[in-house]
Amino acid sequence: MNTVKEANDVLLDCQNVWKIFGARSSAAVKAVSDRGLSKKQVLQDFDCVVGVSDASLQVRRGEIFCIMGLSGSGKSTLVRLLNRLIEPSLGKIVVKGREIATLNAAELRDMRARNIGMVFQSVALLPYRTVLENAAFGLEVRGVPKDERNETARAALAKVGLSDWISRYPSELSGGMQQRVGLARALAADPEIILMDEPFSALDPLIRRQLQDEFRQLTKSLGKSAVFITHDLEEAIRIGDRIAIMKDGMIVQVGTAEEIVTKPADDYVAEFVAGISRIHLVKAHSVMRPVADFKTSQPHCDVGALLKASPEADIGELIDITMRSDRDAVAVVENGSIVGVVTTRGLLRGVAGMPAGAPSAA
Protein backbone atom coordinates (compact mmCIF):
# COMPACT_ATOMS: atom_id res chain seq x y z
CA MET A 1 0.00 0.00 0.00
CA ASN A 2 2.68 2.36 1.07
CA THR A 3 4.91 1.42 -1.86
CA VAL A 4 2.11 2.08 -4.36
CA LYS A 5 1.57 5.55 -2.97
CA GLU A 6 5.29 6.20 -3.11
CA ALA A 7 5.49 5.00 -6.70
CA ASN A 8 2.72 7.43 -7.63
CA ASP A 9 4.63 10.22 -6.05
CA VAL A 10 7.71 9.68 -8.19
CA LEU A 11 7.55 12.45 -10.80
CA LEU A 12 10.74 11.68 -12.58
CA ASP A 13 12.22 8.23 -12.77
CA CYS A 14 15.55 7.61 -14.42
CA GLN A 15 16.43 3.93 -14.78
CA ASN A 16 19.89 2.66 -15.68
CA VAL A 17 20.57 5.47 -18.10
CA TRP A 18 23.74 5.56 -20.18
CA LYS A 19 25.05 8.22 -22.48
CA ILE A 20 27.99 7.37 -24.70
CA PHE A 21 29.54 10.00 -26.98
CA GLY A 22 31.68 9.24 -30.00
CA ALA A 23 31.73 8.17 -33.62
CA ARG A 24 31.24 4.50 -32.77
CA SER A 25 28.83 5.05 -29.92
CA SER A 26 26.18 2.63 -31.21
CA ALA A 27 28.67 -0.25 -31.26
CA ALA A 28 29.84 0.77 -27.81
CA VAL A 29 26.28 0.85 -26.53
CA LYS A 30 25.71 -2.67 -27.84
CA ALA A 31 28.88 -3.87 -26.15
CA VAL A 32 27.82 -2.27 -22.89
CA SER A 33 24.35 -3.82 -22.92
CA ASP A 34 25.54 -7.26 -24.11
CA ARG A 35 28.81 -7.66 -22.29
CA GLY A 36 28.66 -5.05 -19.52
CA LEU A 37 31.81 -3.20 -20.53
CA SER A 38 33.25 -0.68 -18.13
CA LYS A 39 33.80 2.95 -18.90
CA LYS A 40 37.52 2.41 -19.31
CA GLN A 41 37.04 -0.49 -21.72
CA VAL A 42 34.61 1.52 -23.79
CA LEU A 43 37.19 4.27 -24.17
CA GLN A 44 39.90 1.74 -25.03
CA ASP A 45 37.95 -0.49 -27.42
CA PHE A 46 35.65 2.01 -29.11
CA ASP A 47 37.30 5.39 -28.55
CA CYS A 48 34.01 6.57 -27.10
CA VAL A 49 33.52 8.71 -24.01
CA VAL A 50 30.98 7.61 -21.46
CA GLY A 51 29.17 10.72 -20.26
CA VAL A 52 26.70 9.04 -17.97
CA SER A 53 27.04 5.47 -16.86
CA ASP A 54 24.19 3.42 -15.47
CA ALA A 55 22.54 6.28 -13.62
CA SER A 56 19.33 5.62 -11.72
CA LEU A 57 17.45 8.16 -9.65
CA GLN A 58 13.93 9.03 -8.60
CA VAL A 59 12.64 12.50 -7.94
CA ARG A 60 9.50 12.64 -5.83
CA ARG A 61 6.82 15.28 -5.86
CA GLY A 62 7.84 18.35 -3.88
CA GLU A 63 11.40 17.19 -3.48
CA ILE A 64 14.58 19.10 -4.25
CA PHE A 65 17.06 16.59 -5.58
CA CYS A 66 20.63 17.76 -5.88
CA ILE A 67 23.17 16.19 -8.18
CA MET A 68 26.67 17.08 -7.02
CA GLY A 69 29.81 16.39 -8.98
CA LEU A 70 32.95 18.06 -10.20
CA SER A 71 33.31 19.25 -13.77
CA GLY A 72 33.42 16.33 -16.16
CA SER A 73 31.47 14.10 -13.80
CA GLY A 74 28.54 14.00 -16.23
CA LYS A 75 26.08 15.96 -14.14
CA SER A 76 25.22 18.48 -16.88
CA THR A 77 24.79 15.62 -19.36
CA LEU A 78 22.55 13.79 -16.91
CA VAL A 79 20.28 16.78 -16.39
CA ARG A 80 19.94 17.24 -20.17
CA LEU A 81 18.95 13.60 -20.48
CA LEU A 82 16.06 14.24 -18.12
CA ASN A 83 14.30 16.54 -20.62
CA ARG A 84 15.79 14.82 -23.66
CA LEU A 85 17.91 17.73 -24.78
CA ILE A 86 20.34 14.82 -25.12
CA GLU A 87 19.09 11.43 -26.26
CA PRO A 88 20.02 8.61 -23.87
CA SER A 89 22.07 5.74 -25.35
CA LEU A 90 20.52 3.17 -23.05
CA GLY A 91 17.97 3.10 -20.27
CA LYS A 92 14.62 4.61 -19.54
CA ILE A 93 13.50 8.02 -18.36
CA VAL A 94 9.92 8.31 -17.17
CA VAL A 95 8.39 11.70 -16.47
CA LYS A 96 4.95 11.69 -14.84
CA GLY A 97 4.44 8.10 -15.92
CA ARG A 98 5.35 8.68 -19.58
CA GLU A 99 8.55 7.41 -21.06
CA ILE A 100 10.02 10.45 -22.78
CA ALA A 101 11.96 8.45 -25.36
CA THR A 102 8.65 7.41 -26.95
CA LEU A 103 7.29 10.94 -27.36
CA ASN A 104 7.20 12.47 -30.83
CA ALA A 105 8.56 15.97 -31.46
CA ALA A 106 5.28 17.77 -30.71
CA GLU A 107 4.58 15.73 -27.57
CA LEU A 108 8.10 16.32 -26.35
CA ARG A 109 7.76 20.08 -26.90
CA ASP A 110 4.50 20.03 -25.01
CA MET A 111 6.04 18.13 -22.12
CA ARG A 112 8.97 20.55 -21.94
CA ALA A 113 6.63 23.51 -22.09
CA ARG A 114 4.25 22.26 -19.41
CA ASN A 115 6.04 19.81 -17.13
CA ILE A 116 9.78 20.47 -17.09
CA GLY A 117 11.25 23.93 -16.74
CA MET A 118 14.94 24.63 -16.98
CA VAL A 119 17.28 27.27 -15.59
CA PHE A 120 20.77 27.63 -17.03
CA GLN A 121 24.14 28.52 -15.57
CA SER A 122 24.58 31.09 -18.33
CA VAL A 123 21.07 32.43 -17.56
CA ALA A 124 20.35 32.55 -21.33
CA LEU A 125 18.25 35.69 -21.27
CA LEU A 126 17.36 37.16 -24.64
CA PRO A 127 19.23 40.50 -24.68
CA TYR A 128 16.79 42.19 -27.05
CA ARG A 129 13.79 41.58 -24.81
CA THR A 130 12.74 43.27 -21.60
CA VAL A 131 12.68 41.39 -18.32
CA LEU A 132 8.93 40.94 -18.65
CA GLU A 133 9.19 39.66 -22.22
CA ASN A 134 11.92 37.27 -21.14
CA ALA A 135 9.87 35.93 -18.26
CA ALA A 136 6.89 35.47 -20.58
CA PHE A 137 8.94 33.67 -23.24
CA GLY A 138 7.88 30.15 -22.33
CA LEU A 139 4.21 31.11 -22.41
CA GLU A 140 4.69 33.05 -25.62
CA VAL A 141 6.04 30.05 -27.53
CA ARG A 142 3.17 28.01 -26.12
CA GLY A 143 0.77 30.48 -27.75
CA VAL A 144 -0.70 32.07 -24.62
CA PRO A 145 -2.31 35.46 -25.46
CA LYS A 146 -0.24 38.51 -24.63
CA ASP A 147 -2.28 39.94 -21.73
CA GLU A 148 -2.54 36.60 -20.04
CA ARG A 149 1.13 35.71 -20.37
CA ASN A 150 2.25 39.15 -19.20
CA GLU A 151 -0.02 38.79 -16.17
CA THR A 152 1.52 35.40 -15.31
CA ALA A 153 5.05 36.64 -15.97
CA ARG A 154 4.46 39.68 -13.76
CA ALA A 155 3.30 37.41 -10.94
CA ALA A 156 6.37 35.19 -11.39
CA LEU A 157 8.67 38.22 -11.35
CA ALA A 158 6.96 39.43 -8.17
CA LYS A 159 7.73 36.08 -6.56
CA VAL A 160 11.45 36.57 -7.19
CA GLY A 161 11.31 40.22 -6.10
CA LEU A 162 11.78 41.91 -9.46
CA SER A 163 8.47 43.76 -9.81
CA ASP A 164 10.24 47.09 -10.22
CA TRP A 165 12.42 45.89 -13.08
CA ILE A 166 9.98 44.48 -15.59
CA SER A 167 10.57 47.02 -18.34
CA ARG A 168 14.38 46.91 -18.07
CA TYR A 169 16.71 44.99 -20.34
CA PRO A 170 18.85 42.10 -19.06
CA SER A 171 22.06 44.08 -19.55
CA GLU A 172 20.86 46.60 -16.96
CA LEU A 173 20.56 43.90 -14.28
CA SER A 174 23.19 42.42 -11.98
CA GLY A 175 24.13 38.75 -12.30
CA GLY A 176 21.97 37.76 -9.35
CA MET A 177 18.98 39.61 -10.71
CA GLN A 178 19.47 38.06 -14.14
CA GLN A 179 19.36 34.62 -12.61
CA ARG A 180 16.16 35.57 -10.79
CA VAL A 181 14.67 36.42 -14.17
CA GLY A 182 15.77 32.98 -15.38
CA LEU A 183 13.99 31.43 -12.42
CA ALA A 184 10.90 33.57 -12.96
CA ARG A 185 10.83 32.48 -16.60
CA ALA A 186 10.85 28.84 -15.51
CA LEU A 187 8.19 29.46 -12.83
CA ALA A 188 5.91 31.39 -15.18
CA ALA A 189 5.36 28.24 -17.24
CA ASP A 190 4.23 26.54 -14.00
CA PRO A 191 6.04 23.22 -14.51
CA GLU A 192 5.99 20.44 -11.93
CA ILE A 193 9.72 19.89 -12.24
CA ILE A 194 12.41 22.51 -12.59
CA LEU A 195 15.85 21.48 -13.81
CA MET A 196 18.51 23.81 -12.44
CA ASP A 197 21.85 23.52 -14.22
CA GLU A 198 24.37 25.12 -11.86
CA PRO A 199 22.26 28.27 -11.74
CA PHE A 200 24.18 30.06 -9.00
CA SER A 201 27.74 28.96 -9.82
CA ALA A 202 28.73 32.21 -11.48
CA LEU A 203 27.47 34.44 -8.66
CA ASP A 204 29.43 35.86 -5.76
CA PRO A 205 29.13 33.98 -2.45
CA LEU A 206 26.81 36.37 -0.62
CA ILE A 207 24.25 36.68 -3.41
CA ARG A 208 24.56 32.97 -3.93
CA ARG A 209 23.57 32.07 -0.39
CA GLN A 210 20.71 34.50 -0.54
CA LEU A 211 19.45 32.98 -3.79
CA GLN A 212 19.91 29.45 -2.45
CA ASP A 213 17.68 30.20 0.51
CA GLU A 214 15.14 32.02 -1.62
CA PHE A 215 15.08 29.24 -4.15
CA ARG A 216 14.50 26.57 -1.54
CA GLN A 217 11.77 28.55 0.14
CA LEU A 218 10.06 29.37 -3.14
CA THR A 219 10.21 25.82 -4.47
CA LYS A 220 8.82 24.44 -1.23
CA SER A 221 6.03 26.99 -0.97
CA LEU A 222 4.97 26.37 -4.56
CA GLY A 223 5.22 22.62 -4.12
CA LYS A 224 7.55 22.18 -7.10
CA SER A 225 10.07 19.42 -7.58
CA ALA A 226 13.54 20.39 -8.63
CA VAL A 227 16.66 18.71 -9.89
CA PHE A 228 19.51 20.97 -8.89
CA ILE A 229 22.95 20.51 -10.41
CA THR A 230 25.93 21.88 -8.54
CA HIS A 231 29.64 21.37 -8.08
CA ASP A 232 29.46 22.69 -4.56
CA LEU A 233 28.60 20.20 -1.82
CA GLU A 234 27.72 22.95 0.65
CA GLU A 235 25.19 24.30 -1.83
CA ALA A 236 23.77 20.81 -2.29
CA ILE A 237 23.43 20.45 1.47
CA ARG A 238 21.77 23.86 1.90
CA ILE A 239 19.26 23.25 -0.84
CA GLY A 240 18.73 19.54 -1.33
CA ASP A 241 16.33 17.17 0.36
CA ARG A 242 18.36 14.40 -1.14
CA ILE A 243 21.74 14.50 -2.79
CA ALA A 244 23.30 12.30 -5.43
CA ILE A 245 27.07 12.38 -5.70
CA MET A 246 28.41 11.80 -9.21
CA LYS A 247 31.88 10.76 -10.22
CA ASP A 248 33.07 9.81 -13.70
CA GLY A 249 29.52 9.56 -15.00
CA MET A 250 28.36 7.29 -12.21
CA ILE A 251 26.16 8.07 -9.25
CA VAL A 252 28.27 7.02 -6.28
CA GLN A 253 25.82 7.70 -3.51
CA VAL A 254 22.27 8.97 -3.05
CA GLY A 255 20.99 10.07 0.32
CA THR A 256 20.03 12.93 2.59
CA ALA A 257 22.72 15.41 3.55
CA GLU A 258 23.06 13.74 6.95
CA GLU A 259 23.40 10.28 5.43
CA ILE A 260 26.07 11.45 3.04
CA VAL A 261 28.02 13.32 5.67
CA THR A 262 27.77 10.69 8.37
CA LYS A 263 27.94 7.56 6.20
CA PRO A 264 29.94 8.33 3.05
CA ALA A 265 29.74 5.44 0.59
CA ASP A 266 33.41 5.49 -0.35
CA ASP A 267 36.68 7.35 0.05
CA TYR A 268 35.81 9.80 -2.71
CA VAL A 269 32.65 10.94 -0.93
CA ALA A 270 34.43 10.85 2.43
CA GLU A 271 37.07 13.21 1.09
CA PHE A 272 34.36 15.58 -0.08
CA VAL A 273 32.47 15.66 3.16
CA ALA A 274 35.61 16.00 5.28
CA GLY A 275 35.48 19.78 5.17
CA ILE A 276 31.74 20.11 5.67
CA SER A 277 30.47 21.56 8.93
CA ARG A 278 28.34 18.97 10.68
CA ILE A 279 26.76 21.37 13.15
CA HIS A 280 23.48 21.63 11.25
CA LEU A 281 23.59 18.19 9.68
CA VAL A 282 24.13 15.68 12.44
CA LYS A 283 21.02 15.09 14.52
CA ALA A 284 20.61 14.08 18.14
CA HIS A 285 19.55 10.51 17.29
CA SER A 286 22.89 9.75 15.70
CA VAL A 287 25.08 11.08 18.55
CA MET A 288 23.04 10.02 21.60
CA ARG A 289 23.97 7.24 23.97
CA PRO A 290 21.46 4.75 25.30
CA VAL A 291 20.07 5.78 28.69
CA ALA A 292 21.24 2.62 30.44
CA ASP A 293 24.77 3.14 29.12
CA PHE A 294 24.76 6.73 30.42
CA LYS A 295 23.48 5.64 33.85
CA THR A 296 26.29 3.13 34.34
CA SER A 297 28.98 5.75 33.65
CA GLN A 298 27.33 8.51 35.70
CA PRO A 299 25.18 6.78 38.35
CA HIS A 300 24.46 9.88 40.43
CA CYS A 301 23.08 11.94 37.55
CA ASP A 302 19.30 12.34 37.42
CA VAL A 303 18.36 11.78 33.80
CA GLY A 304 14.86 13.17 34.32
CA ALA A 305 16.24 16.53 35.42
CA LEU A 306 18.27 17.11 32.24
CA LEU A 307 17.05 19.61 29.65
CA LYS A 308 15.24 17.92 26.80
CA ALA A 309 15.62 17.92 23.03
CA SER A 310 13.94 16.07 20.16
CA PRO A 311 15.78 13.35 18.19
CA GLU A 312 15.73 15.70 15.17
CA ALA A 313 17.57 18.51 16.97
CA ASP A 314 20.89 19.19 15.26
CA ILE A 315 24.21 19.66 17.00
CA GLY A 316 23.89 23.44 16.90
CA GLU A 317 20.64 23.32 18.86
CA LEU A 318 22.06 20.72 21.25
CA ILE A 319 25.03 22.97 21.97
CA ASP A 320 22.66 25.86 22.70
CA ILE A 321 20.66 23.67 25.10
CA THR A 322 23.79 22.39 26.79
CA MET A 323 25.07 25.93 27.29
CA ARG A 324 21.77 26.94 28.93
CA SER A 325 21.90 24.12 31.46
CA ASP A 326 24.43 23.53 34.22
CA ARG A 327 24.86 19.90 33.25
CA ASP A 328 26.99 18.42 30.50
CA ALA A 329 24.25 16.28 29.04
CA VAL A 330 20.89 16.67 27.25
CA ALA A 331 18.10 14.12 27.31
CA VAL A 332 16.61 13.14 23.97
CA VAL A 333 12.86 12.75 24.23
CA GLU A 334 10.60 11.05 21.76
CA ASN A 335 6.86 10.56 22.35
CA GLY A 336 7.21 11.61 25.98
CA SER A 337 9.89 9.09 26.93
CA ILE A 338 13.62 9.55 27.15
CA VAL A 339 15.28 7.53 24.41
CA GLY A 340 18.88 8.60 24.92
CA VAL A 341 21.32 11.11 26.29
CA VAL A 342 23.68 13.39 24.37
CA THR A 343 26.82 14.14 26.30
CA THR A 344 29.39 16.82 25.45
CA ARG A 345 31.65 14.00 24.38
CA GLY A 346 28.92 12.89 22.00
CA LEU A 347 28.63 16.42 20.62
CA LEU A 348 32.36 16.61 20.02
CA ARG A 349 32.28 13.27 18.30
CA GLY A 350 29.46 14.49 16.06
CA VAL A 351 31.29 17.69 15.15
CA ALA A 352 34.48 15.80 14.39
CA GLY A 353 32.59 13.35 12.22
CA MET A 354 33.57 10.18 14.03
CA PRO A 355 31.21 7.29 13.48
CA ALA A 356 28.34 7.58 15.92
CA GLY A 357 27.74 3.93 16.59
CA ALA A 358 31.36 3.08 17.37
CA PRO A 359 32.28 2.68 21.01
CA SER A 360 33.93 5.80 22.36
CA ALA A 361 37.51 5.65 23.43
CA ALA A 362 36.48 5.40 27.08
Binding site: L85, A113, G117, M118, G138, V141
Partner: protein
Protein backbone atom coordinates in the same frame (compact mmCIF):
# COMPACT_ATOMS: atom_id res chain seq x y z
CA UNK B 1 51.26 14.79 -78.92
CA UNK B 2 49.39 17.90 -79.70
CA UNK B 3 48.96 20.14 -76.67
CA UNK B 4 46.03 21.75 -78.44
CA UNK B 5 43.70 18.95 -77.38
CA UNK B 6 44.45 19.68 -73.71
CA UNK B 7 43.47 23.30 -74.08
CA UNK B 8 40.43 24.02 -71.95
CA UNK B 9 37.74 26.35 -73.14
CA UNK B 10 34.69 26.43 -70.87
CA UNK B 11 33.09 28.97 -73.17
CA UNK B 12 32.88 26.28 -75.83
CA UNK B 13 30.46 24.41 -73.59
CA UNK B 14 28.75 27.32 -71.89
CA UNK B 15 27.94 29.33 -74.98
CA UNK B 16 25.88 26.53 -76.57
CA UNK B 17 24.18 25.99 -73.22
CA UNK B 18 23.17 29.63 -73.09
CA UNK B 19 22.04 29.43 -76.72
CA UNK B 20 19.99 26.36 -75.91
CA UNK B 21 18.39 28.05 -72.90
CA UNK B 22 17.62 31.06 -75.04
CA UNK B 23 16.07 28.94 -77.77
CA UNK B 24 14.00 26.65 -75.56
CA UNK B 25 13.10 28.79 -72.58
CA UNK B 26 12.61 32.11 -74.26
CA UNK B 27 9.03 32.55 -72.96
CA UNK B 28 10.28 32.00 -69.41
CA UNK B 29 13.01 34.60 -69.71
CA UNK B 30 10.62 36.96 -71.44
CA UNK B 31 8.13 36.59 -68.60
CA UNK B 32 10.87 37.15 -66.02
CA UNK B 33 11.96 40.24 -67.91
CA UNK B 34 8.41 41.53 -67.93
CA UNK B 35 7.99 40.92 -64.19
CA UNK B 36 11.19 42.69 -63.24
CA UNK B 37 10.46 45.53 -65.64
CA UNK B 38 7.03 46.02 -64.10
CA UNK B 39 8.30 46.17 -60.51
CA UNK B 40 11.19 48.39 -61.52
CA UNK B 41 8.96 50.64 -63.61
CA UNK B 42 6.58 50.99 -60.68
CA UNK B 43 9.27 52.07 -58.26
CA UNK B 44 10.80 54.42 -60.82
CA UNK B 45 7.45 56.00 -61.58
CA UNK B 46 6.75 56.48 -57.88
CA UNK B 47 10.08 58.25 -57.47
CA UNK B 48 9.95 60.32 -60.66
CA UNK B 49 6.27 61.17 -61.10
CA UNK B 50 6.02 63.69 -58.25
CA UNK B 51 8.22 66.79 -58.42
CA UNK B 52 11.72 66.29 -57.01
CA UNK B 53 11.18 68.55 -54.00
CA UNK B 54 8.08 66.56 -52.99
CA UNK B 55 10.02 63.29 -53.06
CA UNK B 56 12.81 64.90 -51.06
CA UNK B 57 10.49 66.29 -48.40
CA UNK B 58 8.60 63.00 -48.11
CA UNK B 59 11.85 61.03 -47.78
CA UNK B 60 13.27 63.38 -45.16
CA UNK B 61 10.07 63.33 -43.12
CA UNK B 62 9.84 59.54 -43.31
CA UNK B 63 13.46 59.14 -42.25
CA UNK B 64 12.93 61.59 -39.41
CA UNK B 65 9.81 59.93 -38.06
CA UNK B 66 10.74 56.30 -38.60
CA UNK B 67 14.43 56.47 -37.75
CA UNK B 68 15.92 59.60 -36.24
CA UNK B 69 17.09 63.14 -36.90
CA UNK B 70 20.50 62.00 -38.05
CA UNK B 71 19.03 59.79 -40.79
CA UNK B 72 16.77 62.64 -41.88
CA UNK B 73 19.77 64.98 -42.22
CA UNK B 74 21.73 62.43 -44.27
CA UNK B 75 18.70 61.91 -46.53
CA UNK B 76 18.31 65.64 -47.09
CA UNK B 77 21.97 66.19 -47.96
CA UNK B 78 22.27 63.16 -50.26
CA UNK B 79 19.08 63.88 -52.21
CA UNK B 80 19.83 67.59 -52.43
CA UNK B 81 23.21 66.81 -53.92
CA UNK B 82 21.72 64.51 -56.58
CA UNK B 83 19.19 67.22 -57.48
CA UNK B 84 21.66 70.09 -57.57
CA UNK B 85 24.13 68.06 -59.63
CA UNK B 86 21.40 67.86 -62.27
CA UNK B 87 21.26 64.09 -62.02
CA UNK B 88 17.89 63.67 -60.31
CA UNK B 89 16.35 61.37 -62.91
CA UNK B 90 19.45 59.23 -63.26
CA UNK B 91 19.80 59.01 -59.48
CA UNK B 92 16.22 57.85 -59.01
CA UNK B 93 16.65 55.27 -61.79
CA UNK B 94 19.74 53.93 -60.03
CA UNK B 95 17.96 53.95 -56.68
CA UNK B 96 15.11 51.90 -58.13
CA UNK B 97 17.51 49.50 -59.82
CA UNK B 98 19.52 48.90 -56.65
CA UNK B 99 16.44 48.54 -54.49
CA UNK B 100 15.01 45.83 -56.71
CA UNK B 101 18.36 44.07 -57.08
CA UNK B 102 18.99 44.07 -53.32
CA UNK B 103 15.51 42.83 -52.55
CA UNK B 104 15.95 39.88 -54.88
CA UNK B 105 19.49 39.18 -53.64
CA UNK B 106 18.29 39.09 -50.04
CA UNK B 107 15.31 36.91 -50.92
CA UNK B 108 17.65 34.38 -52.50
CA UNK B 109 20.63 34.68 -50.14
CA UNK B 110 18.84 34.75 -46.78
CA UNK B 111 17.18 31.30 -46.90
CA UNK B 112 20.21 29.75 -48.59
CA UNK B 113 22.45 31.29 -45.92
CA UNK B 114 20.33 29.72 -43.18
CA UNK B 115 20.51 26.36 -44.95
CA UNK B 116 24.28 26.69 -45.19
CA UNK B 117 24.53 27.34 -41.45
CA UNK B 118 22.37 24.27 -40.72
CA UNK B 119 24.02 21.83 -43.12
CA UNK B 120 27.79 21.84 -43.34
CA UNK B 121 27.78 19.86 -46.57
CA UNK B 122 25.57 22.40 -48.27
CA UNK B 123 27.91 25.13 -47.13
CA UNK B 124 30.90 23.25 -48.52
CA UNK B 125 29.12 22.91 -51.85
CA UNK B 126 28.05 26.54 -51.98
CA UNK B 127 31.38 28.08 -50.98
CA UNK B 128 33.25 27.60 -54.29
CA UNK B 129 30.20 28.83 -56.22
CA UNK B 130 30.21 32.00 -54.13
CA UNK B 131 33.94 32.40 -54.72
CA UNK B 132 33.35 32.26 -58.47
CA UNK B 133 30.43 34.67 -58.29
CA UNK B 134 32.52 37.18 -56.38
CA UNK B 135 35.79 37.01 -58.25
CA UNK B 136 34.86 36.54 -61.91
CA UNK B 137 34.93 40.07 -63.35
CA UNK B 138 31.33 41.24 -63.56
CA UNK B 139 31.66 42.08 -67.29
CA UNK B 140 31.97 38.35 -67.91
CA UNK B 141 28.53 37.44 -66.72
CA UNK B 142 27.01 40.50 -68.25
CA UNK B 143 27.51 38.65 -71.56
CA UNK B 144 25.21 35.66 -70.92
CA UNK B 145 22.81 37.96 -69.09
CA UNK B 146 22.50 40.11 -72.17
CA UNK B 147 22.18 37.02 -74.39
CA UNK B 148 19.27 35.73 -72.31
CA UNK B 149 17.49 38.92 -71.37
CA UNK B 150 18.67 41.23 -74.20
CA UNK B 151 19.92 44.76 -73.56
CA UNK B 152 18.41 46.98 -70.93
CA UNK B 153 17.81 47.07 -67.24
CA UNK B 154 16.93 43.41 -66.68
CA UNK B 155 20.34 41.89 -67.54
CA UNK B 156 21.86 44.65 -65.42
CA UNK B 157 19.70 43.63 -62.48
CA UNK B 158 20.48 39.94 -63.00
CA UNK B 159 24.21 40.64 -63.04
CA UNK B 160 23.81 42.85 -59.96
CA UNK B 161 21.95 40.09 -58.13
CA UNK B 162 24.68 37.59 -58.94
CA UNK B 163 27.16 40.04 -57.46
CA UNK B 164 25.04 40.90 -54.42
CA UNK B 165 24.18 37.37 -53.29
CA UNK B 166 27.60 36.18 -52.00
CA UNK B 167 28.18 38.77 -49.25
CA UNK B 168 24.62 38.46 -48.00
CA UNK B 169 24.76 34.66 -48.07
CA UNK B 170 28.12 34.40 -46.33
CA UNK B 171 27.19 36.83 -43.60
CA UNK B 172 23.80 35.18 -43.08
CA UNK B 173 25.60 31.88 -42.51
CA UNK B 174 28.04 33.55 -40.15
CA UNK B 175 25.24 35.34 -38.31
CA UNK B 176 23.36 32.10 -37.71
CA UNK B 177 26.48 30.21 -36.70
CA UNK B 178 27.15 32.88 -34.12
CA UNK B 179 23.81 32.60 -32.34
CA UNK B 180 24.75 31.60 -28.78
CA UNK B 181 24.25 27.87 -28.17
CA UNK B 182 22.69 28.47 -24.77
CA UNK B 183 19.91 30.53 -26.33
CA UNK B 184 19.15 27.69 -28.75
CA UNK B 185 19.13 25.29 -25.83
CA UNK B 186 16.76 27.61 -24.02
CA UNK B 187 14.41 27.48 -26.99
CA UNK B 188 14.45 23.71 -27.03
CA UNK B 189 14.12 23.38 -23.26
CA UNK B 190 11.09 25.66 -23.17
CA UNK B 191 9.41 23.57 -25.84
CA UNK B 192 9.56 26.17 -28.60
CA UNK B 193 8.83 24.94 -32.12
CA UNK B 194 11.62 25.21 -34.72
CA UNK B 195 9.70 28.12 -36.25
CA UNK B 196 9.51 29.98 -32.94
CA UNK B 197 13.20 29.35 -32.33
CA UNK B 198 13.99 30.79 -35.76
CA UNK B 199 11.76 33.85 -35.42
CA UNK B 200 12.12 34.65 -31.74
CA UNK B 201 15.69 33.58 -30.99
CA UNK B 202 17.83 33.07 -34.07
CA UNK B 203 16.86 36.01 -36.29
CA UNK B 204 16.87 38.62 -33.49
CA UNK B 205 20.23 37.34 -32.21
CA UNK B 206 21.66 37.34 -35.73
CA UNK B 207 20.40 40.82 -36.64
CA UNK B 208 23.64 42.80 -36.10
CA UNK B 209 25.60 40.53 -38.44
CA UNK B 210 22.69 40.34 -40.88
CA UNK B 211 22.77 44.13 -41.07
CA UNK B 212 26.44 44.03 -42.02
CA UNK B 213 25.51 41.55 -44.75
CA UNK B 214 22.75 43.80 -46.02
CA UNK B 215 25.11 46.75 -46.01
CA UNK B 216 27.68 44.82 -48.05
CA UNK B 217 24.98 43.63 -50.41
CA UNK B 218 23.78 47.20 -51.02
CA UNK B 219 27.22 48.68 -51.58
CA UNK B 220 28.39 45.91 -53.93
CA UNK B 221 25.11 46.05 -55.82
CA UNK B 222 25.53 49.76 -56.26
CA UNK B 223 29.03 49.30 -57.62
CA UNK B 224 27.67 46.75 -60.06
CA UNK B 225 24.70 48.84 -61.14
CA UNK B 226 27.18 51.43 -62.33
CA UNK B 227 28.96 48.88 -64.50
CA UNK B 228 25.57 47.86 -65.81
CA UNK B 229 25.42 51.27 -67.47
CA UNK B 230 27.46 49.52 -70.16
CA UNK B 231 24.50 47.33 -71.14
CA UNK B 232 22.04 50.16 -71.34
CA UNK B 233 20.62 50.05 -67.85
CA UNK B 234 20.46 53.83 -67.71
CA UNK B 235 20.76 55.70 -64.46
CA UNK B 236 23.97 57.05 -63.02
CA UNK B 237 25.93 54.24 -64.63
CA UNK B 238 25.00 55.57 -68.04
CA UNK B 239 26.16 59.05 -67.03
CA UNK B 240 29.51 57.68 -65.85
CA UNK B 241 29.88 55.73 -69.10
CA UNK B 242 29.03 58.86 -71.10
CA UNK B 243 31.57 60.86 -69.11
CA UNK B 244 34.19 58.22 -69.82
CA UNK B 245 33.52 57.87 -73.56
CA UNK B 246 33.40 61.64 -74.10
CA UNK B 247 36.26 62.32 -71.67
CA UNK B 248 34.05 64.77 -69.79
CA UNK B 249 35.71 65.06 -66.41
CA UNK B 250 32.91 67.17 -64.92
CA UNK B 251 30.09 64.81 -65.84
CA UNK B 252 32.03 61.76 -64.68
CA UNK B 253 32.83 63.37 -61.33
CA UNK B 254 29.29 64.58 -60.70
CA UNK B 255 27.86 61.16 -61.53
CA UNK B 256 30.47 59.47 -59.36
CA UNK B 257 29.71 61.68 -56.38
CA UNK B 258 25.98 61.14 -56.88
CA UNK B 259 26.65 57.40 -56.65
CA UNK B 260 28.44 57.96 -53.35
CA UNK B 261 25.49 60.01 -52.11
CA UNK B 262 23.05 57.24 -53.07
CA UNK B 263 25.29 54.65 -51.41
CA UNK B 264 25.45 56.56 -48.14
CA UNK B 265 21.72 57.19 -48.26
CA UNK B 266 20.85 53.52 -48.79
CA UNK B 267 23.28 52.34 -46.15
CA UNK B 268 22.10 54.69 -43.40
CA UNK B 269 18.43 54.19 -44.20
CA UNK B 270 18.56 50.39 -44.33
CA UNK B 271 20.53 50.20 -41.11
CA UNK B 272 18.32 52.71 -39.39
CA UNK B 273 15.10 51.12 -40.54
CA UNK B 274 16.11 47.68 -39.27
CA UNK B 275 17.78 48.85 -36.09
CA UNK B 276 15.83 51.98 -35.30
CA UNK B 277 13.16 50.39 -33.20
CA UNK B 278 15.63 48.73 -30.90
CA UNK B 279 17.85 51.78 -30.51
CA UNK B 280 14.73 53.73 -29.61
CA UNK B 281 13.65 51.17 -27.06
CA UNK B 282 16.94 50.74 -25.25
CA UNK B 283 17.41 54.50 -25.20
CA UNK B 284 14.04 54.78 -23.48
CA UNK B 285 14.97 52.11 -20.99
CA UNK B 286 18.36 53.59 -20.14
Amino acid sequence: MNPEILRFSPGAYLAPAVDWLNANFHPFFAALTKLIETVLGGIEAALLYPPAYAVMIAAVLLAGFLINFHAAAVTAIALAFCFLAGLWTASMQTLALVTVAVMISVLVAFPLGILASRYERFEAAVRPVLDIMQTVPPWVYLIPAVMLFSLGRVPAIIATIVYGIPPMLRLTTLAFNQVPKDLLELGQATGASPRSILLKIEIPSATPTLLVGLNQCILLSLAMVVLAGLVGAGGLGAEVTRGLTRMEMGLGLRAGLAIVAIAILLDRLSKGALQGRRIGRSAKAA
